[in-house]
Symmetry: D2
Subunit: 371 residues, 4 copies
Amino acid sequence: MAHPRFDVRTFSMSAPDDTSRIEEALDAGQLVAEDIVAVMGKTEGNGGVNDFTRGFTSMSLAWLLGERLSMTAEEVEDQVAFVMSGGTEGVMSPHCTVFSRADATDAPVDGEKRLSVAVAFTRDFLPEEIGRQAQIDETARAVNDAMKQAGIDDREDVHFVQIKCPLLTNDRIEQARNRGNDVITTETYKSMGYSRAASALGVAKALGEVPADEITDDIVAVDYDHFSGVASTSAGVELEKNVIILMGNSARTGGDLVISHAVMDDAIDAAAVRQALADVDIDVRDGISPQDAERIVNVFAKAEADPTGQVRGRRHTMLTDTDISSTRHARAAVGAVIASLVGDPMVYVSGGAEHQGPAGGGPVAVIAHSS
Amino acid sequence: MAHPRFDVRTFSMSAPDDTSRIEEALDAGQLVAEDIVAVMGKTEGNGGVNDFTRGFTSMSLAWLLGERLSMTAEEVEDQVAFVMSGGTEGVMSPHCTVFSRADATDAPVDGEKRLSVAVAFTRDFLPEEIGRQAQIDETARAVNDAMKQAGIDDREDVHFVQIKCPLLTNDRIEQARNRGNDVITTETYKSMGYSRAASALGVAKALGEVPADEITDDIVAVDYDHFSGVASTSAGVELEKNVIILMGNSARTGGDLVISHAVMDDAIDAAAVRQALADVDIDVRDGISPQDAERIVNVFAKAEADPTGQVRGRRHTMLTDTDISSTRHARAAVGAVIASLVGDPMVYVSGGAEHQGPAGGGPVAVIAHSS
Amino acid sequence: MAHPRFDVRTFSMSAPDDTSRIEEALDAGQLVAEDIVAVMGKTEGNGGVNDFTRGFTSMSLAWLLGERLSMTAEEVEDQVAFVMSGGTEGVMSPHCTVFSRADATDAPVDGEKRLSVAVAFTRDFLPEEIGRQAQIDETARAVNDAMKQAGIDDREDVHFVQIKCPLLTNDRIEQARNRGNDVITTETYKSMGYSRAASALGVAKALGEVPADEITDDIVAVDYDHFSGVASTSAGVELEKNVIILMGNSARTGGDLVISHAVMDDAIDAAAVRQALADVDIDVRDGISPQDAERIVNVFAKAEADPTGQVRGRRHTMLTDTDISSTRHARAAVGAVIASLVGDPMVYVSGGAEHQGPAGGGPVAVIAHSS
Amino acid sequence: MAHPRFDVRTFSMSAPDDTSRIEEALDAGQLVAEDIVAVMGKTEGNGGVNDFTRGFTSMSLAWLLGERLSMTAEEVEDQVAFVMSGGTEGVMSPHCTVFSRADATDAPVDGEKRLSVAVAFTRDFLPEEIGRQAQIDETARAVNDAMKQAGIDDREDVHFVQIKCPLLTNDRIEQARNRGNDVITTETYKSMGYSRAASALGVAKALGEVPADEITDDIVAVDYDHFSGVASTSAGVELEKNVIILMGNSARTGGDLVISHAVMDDAIDAAAVRQALADVDIDVRDGISPQDAERIVNVFAKAEADPTGQVRGRRHTMLTDTDISSTRHARAAVGAVIASLVGDPMVYVSGGAEHQGPAGGGPVAVIAHSS
């Protein structure tokens, strides 16, 4: 019986529309357009409402792949999950990580689990469902689907669940009202936080990270003691359902990649990053060795300014800065901490971490070639 | 014969004019106003041309100490060296570090060097001397003076030389012109860089870090392969001479503080920070212990966006960001890296590092209680 | 019987702590320290939460006047109302406007009303009263007091009511909770808007701009169709009550100053500014004459990004800009419009205009020497 | 003999990739893809180095037109001149202005000149020619070509010359060096200014605005008393030659559009805008009439922070703001001034005005339907 292998490659970009490295890899046969299932990118915008670099990269990729696959850009977007995260503050370097799925040529080795990736979807949400129980529960269902699809039996083997979720627009709010229903917030920007929050709680529910009966409407974006240690969620205006990219290790997958994760308690929790690296047999206590550096494909993390206004009991100024949004501060800090440990600034740190790790912290995951 | 001891204490601030923690320490007798020789602060402005938080803090401190010493604010500023650095991006926490000098009660222990601090001054510079040989040579002379004054015989025992230097204003440029002389630049903002650069090279010359005959006018802000590993310079509009705060270890000083330093090769050079910590017997490879954390008084470092546009061969976007100045990005990154190692975000990272460490890097120094 | 005259003078500033022009005027006897009742300043910070230029200017003025009046800075602040507004975006020029009250030497001319200014206070508010009926009603009461004090009988003669109001801090929120009471919002930044809004509605109530029975708790920061055409309110952390500076024309006042106002419907409503100017006999349809330019002391206005996201049916991008806060955009725009009409960029435009003029617009007032 | 008519239409955009209004116009036959010669757009980025909204809009338009014309995007860009200007600060509204050329059905009316538009090109420049005499002279030559092509005999009939010019990249600087030649600056960002400056002087030379013998290398970006009153230049990384879009009135053109211009002396020079409007028979002294508002197609202007640091003798803070770049301040101010006069925020104001109008000012042009 055929079983899959997943390949993950990271490509640098010189601008949001620079897909040249991916084109080269396609041309060289290192990457097969048909095999691509997802792309996660860090683009160099501000990561805020008016960050158009995300859309620019998605469009550029959709056109490139459309050409190679003889599809329209729309058809490509139906087939490949694009998740773009804006903001490469500090040392972070713009790039795309491309996930491919192919048939493995060798059978999985007994007892050795390998990276498995699955893409799943919820149904479309009504505007009045965003940030509420329906979004939590549907997300949980889709996460369970994705686990099955990925061939992962044990929840402990799930290490990163990237979700793209919808937000409320003025049009959608109006639609809800016309049905006589209210929405969780009438502020578009705030709806992004609610949608991210409910989606993260959906992951926590599916994976049993929080008892199911404690995950109710009223803790969404309120009680941050309840969180998922593997969810990474971001809201986008272009969709009405949640798209889930689940990553974990499976005994039924080939290839040589593995994934691990840990939970950063705060923005400077280097110990958590060291732990995630240790879990893939990489010891960075005296700096990373060139051999281990080669093994790392990418590190994925979520960052946010601690809502208490303090990190380790010290006042920070990220939330009171009217010139730079707190997510930009937080990405710069966490990106540098991780880069200093793996010796590479081409890492993926995304902002806005409601219920994704504890308040002020967030999940960090490592994909690496097995040792 | 009396010999001195130096005490260094760090005080958190809730706003640029919040001197309440220092007042409390004065009231409690933990700090003696008469003994204070210098204050180095991180304030929460943007660190740029229009950062008025530096002046606000200096003024607040001058008034506070003036009250306690029955002096005018101006007299205080003649007696105490104030160096304020704007910008607490990312996790950094606003604070002031106060340096005091008192007579030691015990004699220095044989073979045990302890922190010594000296403040020295150059003569006033003519505008046409800024960024040129005269500023280099006068700075070198003053650094030598400071070494003597600090009781430091060996250049290797100098670990951090903080300099505040003048810049060109339109008035000063006009004065030079009226004398028939040209200035190094007619752009006020750029003159800050030239003044910092020449001052750093003055340190390098005094300490023999660069052969004296290679330190000439024409390498100022041009050839960044020549640098000091201990200089930290910043330009301020309020003065016409260089103020030097030299820190090192002396065999003729009492107290229990020691200082060490290393040179960060780039913004994520955690190894250099680990080295500086190891030099004061602090091992952070598995995280810092509570005991060692207690021993650290503060960490001082300089940061800048690598002028090549790359960190470790990866493109960064700090220099092409029209929304956030590159110094803000760089401080956020380096501040987080250091904070992650010492487990404390209340550290001092200052931007703009011409000839202070290699391009893209900078010195990092640690003051700690001896073990 | 003695009657007062009010003098108003505007002084440029080269930095937030530059009080040299005011010192010169004091030294020259053009300004008498004892007569000063209020100072309204535009300072060059970002106008947001971390704008410390306001405090820096207030402190500098308090010290200067304290020296002249042999008072402490605190005593000065009890006697003189300081209102600092941050943000001189675009062409606006940093400055202070000083209001003085002296005995008039001549009797008022029959039928000629002249500028009158009064400062009044509410009682201290409990945190749970901020943004609610108590704040509205107390403000209305104080405005009525100020009218009487200013010798203004007709509400139509009130042209500008500048209010400084408190905000909620974490400490104050905690106090309310300890009493078992809730507050209008637990977000410090948002409480500024509620406090401004309730204060503006208090003005509207006192002046009968909105029927008293329509001004209730539940329209605060909700129903922007109810507004004052003369209120200009700003929140500051340093006080617990509202300070009211009321300006209007009185038949019982001497001097040669007059004030007028109009309501801008949106950020580009030049017609309203022309109207306010016409009301003090200044015609700017073909540009302002040098004589008329001399007559103007200052123009005061409030600005905000239209909450509908549109100006004159065209989409604006002020509210979706994650890099520049919308108040900065709005001040730049309105400041330039007014400056282009009066031919002078040294005008006072302040941001955040809840219930101060219609949504997206705001009051504009002109103080001028009578023709 | 056939003669042309030029149509100009302005389309609002809801995002940089929103071409839906143009698509509708194409579908409705109001716009003919084959006739389009140029598009000038205001996009909602920061207008700086990392403003990718310009490229995103150009790419979206190229793809749209490519689909309609059965061309590749590259072929479209060879045929249609795209000029995108980033930055819609303050009230400005994102939009595109589309210029079309068709055969006129009626002969031009004697004595009535109508809008004529021509697109011309220089040869490719070597990197060492940028900002120097060769770029000036070649631009002058191309402007003369464009005048002939547009059927304009009298230089006075030229009212706006939009130029897109190259800049220096690290690669191009390297190429020059390999030939043993130096370049005008090794700073990429500064090269944009030099290229804009030389291009503007090329226009001034062609139109005789400055005596030809005074236009030499050494005044480029130095002597701003020499300038063009109609040039509007912007640098872009994507080209190696200058693209010129010349607009004026011709006796040999049909249609009903006319163009006028004036030179703003500073950012608040409303008189100049009123003059340009008066030249197309629009009187805005009492506000614009609905009829006249309908007649205006668009207003084009250049803006910059006055390099003296003052506007009308008052200090501005645009050049000392480390948080917001001065071009953003300037566009917000000038955009609002113009919008307040024409009653419409959908105007085109672009930043960076070296030798385009006097220092601190810039050209302003109006395209309107004839009365």
